[in-house]
């Protein structure tokens, strides 16, 4: 599945400028330390964290996208930084637990 298909299938709102890429897995966490230790390149990272330091974390791990859940307000400097790094920053109003159900219905699995 590509980021394009994910956005279309789940009506996600893109908040940054980026090139589409292949999604190979998923990592759900609001802890940057867990993400740095456990997420893999190509994963989509699902979180409620919106502080701009999620972008360097996302970059170091090389996630395919960051999805902010729970209708969180994303500050402009986070989306600006995401665009600068070409990282897909996406948004959903669903809470994390319910959003996992939607990802699962699309066939997404952890690697």
């Amino acid at each position: 599945m590509t980021t394009k298909e994910l956005i279309e299938n789940l009506s996600l709102k893109p908040l940054s400028k980026f090139d589409h890429r292949e999604i190979t897995g998923v990592f759900v966490s609001d802890m940057l330390s867990d993400v740095m230790a456990g997420a893999k390149s190509g994963d989509i990272w699902v979180t409620v964290q919106t502080h701009k330091s999620i972008i360097p974390a996302a970059n170091l791990v090389d996630v395919s996208a960051v999805v902010i859940t729970s209708k969180k307000q994303v500050p402009p400097d986070t989306s600006d930084l995401a665009s600068k790094h070409g990282i897909a920053l996406l948004w959903t109003e669903l809470p994390t637990f319910e959003f996992v159900g939607k990802l699962y219905a699309l066939g997404l699995m952890t690697t």
């Binding site: 802890m31 940057l32 740095m36 230790a37 330091s53 360097p56 970059n59 070409g86």
Partner: protein, 183 residues
């Protein structure tokens, strides 16, 4: 194995807490890793010549790197964490390099050793190179690359406004606001 092109992975991952403490007279910062959180922010205690105040508590982790091919283990217990440069001091080496590398889509992170910055806590250049290899091996480098810099390059800690890539304020019951550097 002298000829091994090492392929690195994280190992010996230990989750815990980073404690930041400050002494005002003389000004000194120290950090250390602890299994337990230290919830009493603002607590003062005397140790040696200093009155230390607990400034910050962050969720963090320690790790080592191991080569998947030859099993060579490299110790990275001295790595406190990584910081992202926010470009606050235009004369700072880190900011200068960040600006220089931007056009090459080379993104800079600073590898921090524990504080105070002394011989015991230094991270040698070879280790920084291994860290860089670790990050670059996990990505499509035709899109972008990572450069890992030493915290030696930071002009002035007390004025540095970089963002640490770890979880400050997770233990707070208040909603996350502006992150303040612990310096």
């Amino acid at each position: 194995m002298p000829d091994c092109q090492h392929q690195w992975e994280m190992t010996h991952i230990e989750f815990g807490f980073l404690i930041f403490e400050k002494c005002s007279q003389p000004y000194s910062l120290r950090t250390y890793f602890s299994e337990k959180s230290h919830p009493m922010l603002g607590e003062k205690y005397r140790d040696g010549k200093c009155d230390w105040t607990v400034m910050e508590n962050a969720q963090s982790f320690l790790f080592d790197l191991k080569c998947k091919k030859c099993n060579l283990l490299e110790d990275f217990r001295n790595v406190m964490g990584f910081m992202y440069c926010t470009g606050c001091l235009p004369d700072c080496e880190v900011e200068i390099l960040q600006r220089k590398y931007e056009s090459e889509k080379k993104w800079v992170v600073v590898a921090f050793g524990f504080l105070p910055k002394d011989r015991e806590h230094a991270i040698p250049a070879e280790k920084l190179k291994i860290l860089e290899d670790y990050f670059n091996q996990r990505r499509d480098t035709s899109r972008s690359t990572i450069a890992v810099l030493s915290y030696d390059l930071i002009e002035d800690f007390s004025r540095c406004k970089g963002d640490f890539i770890h979880d400050v304020g997770m233990l707070s019951l208040e909603p996350p606001g502006e992150k303040k550097t612990p310096f």
